[in-house]
Assembly symmetry: C2
Homo-oligomer: 148 residues x 2
DNA sequence: GCAATAAGCTTGCATGCGCAAGTGATTTGC
DNA sequence: GCAAATCACTTGCGCATGCAAGCTTATTGC
């Protein structure tokens, strides 16, 4: 049949898909944002100075720069994020979270954590969760700016 | 900060994204198919009778029925899949893999396995891989038709 | 200094996808 | 038996996204 590496990779994709799908539904219904909008806010909050340039966001989120432009526009309109310019480099336009944006992130993060708990807590021992975290940490490696 | 469940879920999404992105690039460059087209072929191969109806495929792949219709059309045109009708129920249109489709799947599966090996083998002990498989298996649960 | 190159961002175009409506085939209720 | 409901599939429409081209601003080479 197929080796264990392959099986693991397939299951990894499947589990992530399932989780993301469920999350997407609850996010749009309860908070009115998409998973990617949530991740955008989260990346900003986890950044060093609470703001990120568009290309920086694009790299961290694994999307193109144009996607960031088109994601940020409606979020500005709704008041979740604002823009700041760099004094030194007029090319840079930072995305910052407004108070409303931070509030929205906080609510969405609660939903996220709730679903994460459902995923693990019922069927897992505490030390297994620890070990799983360490395994995932190694899989992420140093390849990208880590979110968690 | 954030609890371990949340961290794990974030990392899970991140690892899956990374893997899928890399896979997508190599698939389109080397095999000329998308990840979803690969998964479609794989679902058919893993099915009981080497063929699946469109709604069946949609459920297993977590996409809408219209997506299957639109994915299958170009794959038929290129000769990777064919269609079979059910004698009993004229509504059903099964998707089957042609010889070329099975060949393509086989090549793509080799690429997939190679990348899966890269992901795990360098940094993992054998029994860790075992344990990871069991953990992912529990995360998938009985919620959906399993692919691996 | 100034031309050439590069970086950050935006926009036009094409693609992939979900949702809702439509069509034809089958099952159900009575 | 037949009308109504259900199911499998397709199609029109809108949204999200990547790629390539273009614009503006910085940097580099000389």
């Amino acid at each position: 049949m197929t080796d264990l590496y392959t099986t693991n990779a397939l299951r990894l994709l499947q589990v992530a898909d399932n989780f993301r799908d469920g999350l997407s539904g609850e996010f749009s219904a309860v908070h009115g944002i998409s998973v990617n909008e949530f991740l955008l806010l989260l990346h900003i909050k986890r950044s060093a100075s609470n703001r990120l340039s568009r290309v920086d966001l694009a790299k961290r989120m694994h999307v193109s720069a144009s996607t960031i432009t088109r994601m940020a526009a409606p979020m500005e309109k709704v008041g979740l994020v604002g823009r700041e310019v760099d004094q030194r480099d007029a090319r840079l336009i930072f995305v910052v979270a407004t108070d409303a944006g931070q509030e929205k992130l906080s609510e969405a993060l609660a939903t996220f954590s709730k679903r994460a708990s459902y995923l693990f807590s019922d069927r897992w021992e505490v030390d297994e969760v620890d070990q799983f975290a360490s395994m995932l940490g190694r899989l992420i490696g140093g390849t990208c700016d880590t979110l968690a």
